[in-house]
Amino acid sequence: MRLLTHNSLKCPVKGVAKGYPLQLTIVDMEVDETEVKPDFIRGILPSLEWEGVLVAAAAVGFDGLPESWDTSLLDDRDFILAMHRLLIDIHIVEGVLTCPETGRTFPIKGGIVDMVLPESDV
């Protein structure tokens, strides 16, 4: 599971006020190296949950990200590259996502996160 996906996920439990960003516990991860698409990174930056980005960066030990971002960073080639490496190239193979509100856990196995809930919680 990529960290971009982690940033997009929300806890689906009924009655949850916000449900993100999900806390991230990593058991096993891999780092890839794929082609950077700067247009894509610039396109998604405004809609990212920055708090979630910081949570993910802390969990994988990725340093150097600012506390908040601003539009001047969109032209920073190194920043775009760093965001790509963080969000796209890092894969969580085994781990757990935890909802900050309900404490509900969502396991990650074989790179696939399991968000299915028992019917009673939906």
Partner: protein, 310 residues
């Protein structure tokens, strides 16, 4: 052949062997590719890499098309077996998620540039457990869909309705949560090629894409023309307004025969022979002759309207 939806719930129907079969069937691959390409065409995405959600991504056949088009995507599916097959692709731009769309899509608001779904959402209409209510699932699905789309995003959801009523049910649920749009039916006259696409947008002024019709000449014997908006056009398109007007009135129109064919059938012929008309009188006389009764010969005066009453 019974539909998969009436056989078992999707997480059980698409078990390991079924998932393998699905993914390796060249026919299935070709069909899914075509449908996905068509759905993407209807999405009208901008000319840059976008972030797409693939609902009911299955073994990743549709995801591959998204990737080849240069987009990043997240696929969700309820069948772990299908997802395992999809994971083998090791996609550069796609990610997989085990989720039940009927519980609500587990994503943040305004996340995706576009949504596709290939042959999946009809599964919402079947209740697989005592605590599963299709209407509730449809509502949770469409409400969450409304939320996770960016304001300028669109959704194209190809599905296989079992009946016209099911298609209307799905479309009405989408309309109720606030979407604009409608159902586009490609090749409405071919039972094999016919495909339903639910096209959704936030714009009030949204017009659904034009349907594909294939051959323009409709043979007299062709059947299965389904009317969504009360018009039996070659390309049947139902907008939400028309569907709302037709709701409760949806019927499968069966075969649309033209005037000539209608007159040749038994009932058609009967209708031509209006009672006491010249044709009727002649027909009756012939009938009586057939029964061996004494009947006056036919002449130019047979069945003629008499000038004055007695």
């Amino acid at each position: 052949m019974s539909r998969p939806e009436t056989t078992a719930p999707p997480e059980l129907f698409y078990n390991e062997s079924e998932a393998r079969k699905y993914d390796s069937s060249s026919r299935m691959i070709k069909i899914q590719e075509e449908i996905t390409t068509r759905a993407m065409e209807m999405l009208g995405l901008p000319n840059r890499p976008c972030y797409i959600l693939d609902i009911g991504c299955g073994s990743g056949l549709s995801g591959q098309v998204l990737e080849e088009a240069g987009h990043y995507w997240v696929g969700c599916d309820i069948s772990s077996s299908m997802l395992s097959v999809a994971a083998e692709q090791d996609s550069d731009t796609g990610d997989l998620c085990h989720a039940d769309m009927g519980q609500g899509l587990p994503f943040r608001p305004a996340t995706f540039d576009g949504i596709v779904s290939i042959s999946a959402i009809q599964w919402l209409c079947y209740s697989n457990a005592a605590d599963q209510d299709p209407k509730l699932r449809l509502n949770r699905f469409f409400s969450s869909l409304y939320t996770v789309m960016k304001r300028d995003a669109k959704a194209v959801l190809q599905f296989y309705p079992e009946t016209p009523e099911q298609a209307v049910l799905i479309a009405q649920c989408a309309s109720r949560v606030g979407f604009s749009g409608g159902i586009v039916v490609d090749y409405p006259n071919s039972s094999k090629a016919k495909k339903h696409y639910l096209c959704l947008s936030f714009e009030r002024s949204y017009h659904v894409p034009r349907a594909l019709t294939g051959a323009e000449t409709m043979s007299v014997a062709s059947g299965g023309a389904m009317s969504m908006a009360g018009s039996a056009a070659a390309s049947a398109v139902g907008t939400f307004d028309a569907l709302a007007a037709a709701s409760g009135n949806v019927s499968v129109l069966g075969r649309e025969r033209d005037e000539k064919t209608r007159r040749m059938t038994k009932n058609g012929r009967k209708a031509l022979r209006k009672k006491h008309s010249v044709e009727w009188v002649r027909h009756k006389k012939e009938q009586m002759r057939g029964r061996g009764k004494a009947v006056k010969n036919d002449s130019k005066y047979t069945g003629r309207k008499r000038p004055t009453p007695f």
